[in-house]
Amino acid sequence: MEKHVVVIFPHPDDEAFGASGSVAQFRKEGVPVTYLCGTLGQMGRNMGNPTFANRESLPEIRKKELKRACETLDMELKMLGYRDKTIEFEDKQEVADHIRGYLEEIKPSLVITHYPGYAVHPDHNALGAAAIQAVEDMNPVERPKVWAQAFSNGHEEDLGSPDVINDVRDTFDKKLQTILSHDSQVAGMFGWYKQLDELDEEVKNELIENQAMERFYLWDFEKNSSK
């Protein structure tokens, strides 16, 4: 059993789509989980559908949604205070040191973050790289394991099959509730979640299958050492 899990993603809702089923499973086992959320998703383009947010009101709205999502999962929340879309332009070592401060205090046994270079959004790649750097900078005997999430097109050609494939159908209701906490964001590409009840059974099951497997690569510090 894990001692404490720390999830490190840049945007409110990354945790929902990427790892909320796994987080719910950890919580069911009684494992504490902390979310280090990098930004408030200030520059998101989804404003609700129909729109109820605007560029200036979006950060506060997403902060409330993030808090609701973390309450749903019973997960502790720490906000790192960066600005959406800018993480890759920050000093990487500074961000890594910032994250390492939390890790040395929490002493997790597992860190979940994005796989640098294979996570599509520049913020995902940059925060994932800083998080892995943070773990790498720790005393090797105190290092937690790292599960890195990759989802760029064709990532399996480079990385092979994921090492961890969590079937989260047992906590899927929690995952769905967490996703729906992010009301301003579940329009657009994930709008189907809102109409789940109206879909026919076959389509619905296919959609659930797609979201019911949470995949991660176990980071190999020997093989991938950046030093």
């Binding site: 520059m43 383009r45 989804n46 404003m47 609700g48 559908n49 129909p50 729109t51 605007n54 560029r55 200036e56 009101s57 950060p59 879309k85 599509v120 959004h121 520049p122 913020d123 760029s152 097109n153 329009a187 657009g188 590409m189 709008g191």
Partner: protein
């Protein structure tokens, strides 16, 4: 936000004439554009809290899509595809263009105080 009312937006733009104002100008098609469609390009730009002074402003358009041009001493600020507007927190004029799913595609905002 609500659909642009040309005369009201023109009045709001004029209220900032010859004043030092802060501008937020942005366009985006989303960080996932190329991920979702290999033929698409991921393109975006924004500038936030740029301090400028403009001496002339116009909003032009018909139907539900508008352009705004702000003429400055040494250049222009321009936005196209604006559909909605609001006055936010008393002194901020927000203009934005949304697609049919409500996603922001372009934004032009003017304020006498810096944006947060």
């Amino acid at each position: 936000m609500k659909p642009i009312e040309l005369e009201k937006v023109q009045q709001a733009l004029d209220s900032y004439l010859n004043k030092e104002v802060y501008v937020h100008l942005e366009t985006t098609n989303g960080a996932y554009a190329n991920h979702l469609d290999a033929n698409a390009y991921t393109v975006g730009a924004y500038i936030r809290n740029s301090k400028v002074t403009y001496k002339q402003a116009k909003i032009i358009g018909e139907g539900n899509s508008y352009r705004v041009g702000l003429k400055m001493e040494l250049g222009w600020i321009y936005a196209e595809g604006l559909t909605d507007w609001t006055i936010y927190e008393g002194n901020q004029l927000l203009l934005a263009g949304h697609d049919r799913e409500g996603r922001l595609m372009v934004a032009l905002e003017v304020s006498e105080t810096p944006f947060k």
